[in-house]
Amino acid sequence: MKKLLSTLLAATLLLSLVAVPALAEAPNGTYTMFMRSTYIDWIKELKWYDEAETRTGIHVDYVYGPEEFADCYAEVDQRILSNTLTDAVMTKLTQTNVYGPDGVFADLAPYIEKYAPNIKAYIEENPAYKALVTNDKGAIYGLCKETPIFADLIGYRVDHFEKAGIDPEKVITVKDFTEALRTLKAYWGKDNPNYYPLTGRDSALRFAAWFSCPATISTEESNGVYIGHYKDGSFDILNDNAYTMIETMKTWYDEDLINPEWVAGTFSEGDWEAAMLNGNGSIFYDYYTRAQWFMVNGGPANDPDFKMGVLNFLKNEDGSVIPVTSSMPYNDEVVTAINAKASEETIKTILTFLDYFYSEEGQILANYGVENVSFKVDEQGEKVFIVDYNQEEATPAGEKRWSFLSDRLTVCKPVDDEAFFKWNDALIAEAASRLFTEDNMITAYAIKLTDEQSMELSNLIASVYDAEVAGMTAFITGSSELTNDSWKAFQEQMNNLGLRRIEEIQLEAFRAQYAE
């Protein structure tokens, strides 16, 4: 008898072990999704995400992809080949455009009609988005996520300016900027041979917009290599102003106003950070959160006077604002697509989950969190965060936190720009609200390419773009002599390598998509 009881007990225990997880399974469905590992790690730490799964009753099993984007896309290809594609994947627009009609990804248009009213509304309200994700047959093979629109900001050492006697409000034009650099160099570079006022990392060719010669695109013209370089490393060497840009940068270089290692391309992120922290630089033009980063990662600890600020964008001589390059509203590198082999039930689950984030309730959750837990509504009806940005972001890896960094892919969803910039330290939040206006930023467009265009372009860009960078760098550092003739020769050389053809293809693709 005892034996029977104990066996029963053991069996019950065993059963309960099995049953409990089964009960804990999502009542409204579950699906698998392949994504970049970094993003998955972040999702797993988000408190608002857990809340979303609780509210929708849907659970997503994330499958780890590699860290590098290129490797992720390669893995998508591999999964297709080995038939191990997950229910949903993170892929890129070119892959969805090409593989969709081949039957790898599901055409979401009919399902969105049926199951995703919020997404449907969003598509209708955003014609540019519609043009991007819908192909000429009306099929939708992937959904791009929305990105907040931001630009790089000019971070500067407030204390350096003060001590050198520069009024940041008076730095208005590029000429003023150069003058400020000279003043800083004279003051701080006197006894410090390693001091260069303007510093940065990786590529130094990021000032084209200041000289009105960034890469641009419209239905009329395409200038410069736009694809892949609409924001960072954007320039148009065939523009007349490009010569002025190179001349000015050469002046900076010759007068030691800009870090020469940076111009040569040998200054890494670590080098730049060390330089700023050591006071060997005063100004940079980089990712918008960077000014704050230095404040929190060792600046004041090393030098009690260390203080960062954000300069206004520069203006033309006549006082008009010079718009700068900015991010694309829709990110075509992190597209959510669904496996064509998934059942209708699964597709419904996926779309229901995504649709939640397009609803008003979902948007508040993803951008602000839970009322009275992570944000509150103040007297003016404005939403204000009640959790501290710095504290939350400093949570050790692996632990849960509140975070609303919508530039990352967590889920394909719309972005609340206002919320996004509020979720920042005061320094950046202020700078964002002051500077990220429509006038200040050049609209960026995501361009769809056909298979042939893609192939031809990637070949051309691989040789032309780097050659442009190499050539311009040589002029700035002086290893090539800069004259009108040598510049013209350089432009010719780039055209021979294929620059004009690149512009042609880009224009063609842009027109096909946006000229209605």
């Binding site: 998508v76 391309g265 780097d466 050659a467 760098t473 040589a474």
Partner: protein, 319 residues
Amino acid sequence: MKAMSSHPAANKRTLWERIMRDIKRNRQLYLLIIPGFLLLVLFKIGPVGAMVIAFQNFRASRGLWGSQWVGITNFERIINDPYILTLTKNTVILAVLSVVVVFPIPIIFALFLNEVKSKRLHGFIQSMSFLPYFISAAVMVSILSTLLSPSSGLVNNLIRASGGKSINFMSQPEWFRPLYVLLEIWQTFGYSAIIYIAAMTAIDPALYEAAEMDGANRWKKMWHITLPSIATSVIVMLIISVGNIFTVNLDRILIMYNPSTYSTADVIQTYVYRIAFQSKGFPDYSYSAAVNVLKSVIAFILVMGVNKIADKAADARLF
């Protein structure tokens, strides 16, 4: 192997019968070769066969059999590319340097290490020499950058102390190749030397004693005893080196190169990497396969050439 008899009766044996006879006679050898042969057919010939995607417009969604055949279009793309000449020049120079400069170093190292009498010291030095092989490209280049830093690096400090001006080595195209080769030597000399050191352990000490009695000094012993004894290893390693001639340490180049050094640092492998994997567009596997085909054909011709020379000059052919 018996010479073919001209006796009519012997010739009447069919090929099949001759094979069966050979199997019977050497059945254990046939047995032993099975695992290796299977590996060869299944895992080595297969992938090489799949290189046919170079003649296709390969798409993962269509697979090997479904992708469109485009003949030599990809090859034309390569040859008509205006940039390809610069790239080829850089690639070839780097390849030649890898054989001419990098190859002899491990041999020289092994020769001198062999002269070390103390077993413990010998073992210690050999173990240490092996270490650089494990250091990743990222770490090595980072150390090199620190060493060569124009502002704070050791080398430039010395240059400035002797009155010169700092040189930003990592940004000078003319320094790229020497630095790349230096790192290559550094990271592989201990590893490659293992073969020669192992071969040297088989040299009969009596030979040295005999030479000592004849009054030979260290250099003579090295030249007349040690070196010839490892001649086979040297030739084999040379052929292997030639087979690998177009293999570059892609990681290292990708980390080392920057716009200022593209003129010497950009090689076909990095170019293909940019096209096939970094582009915004489509991962272009057919293109990189086509480049691989070209690279492999050239490398193979070179290997056959070296093999023939080794055969004629030293009777030491590989195949």
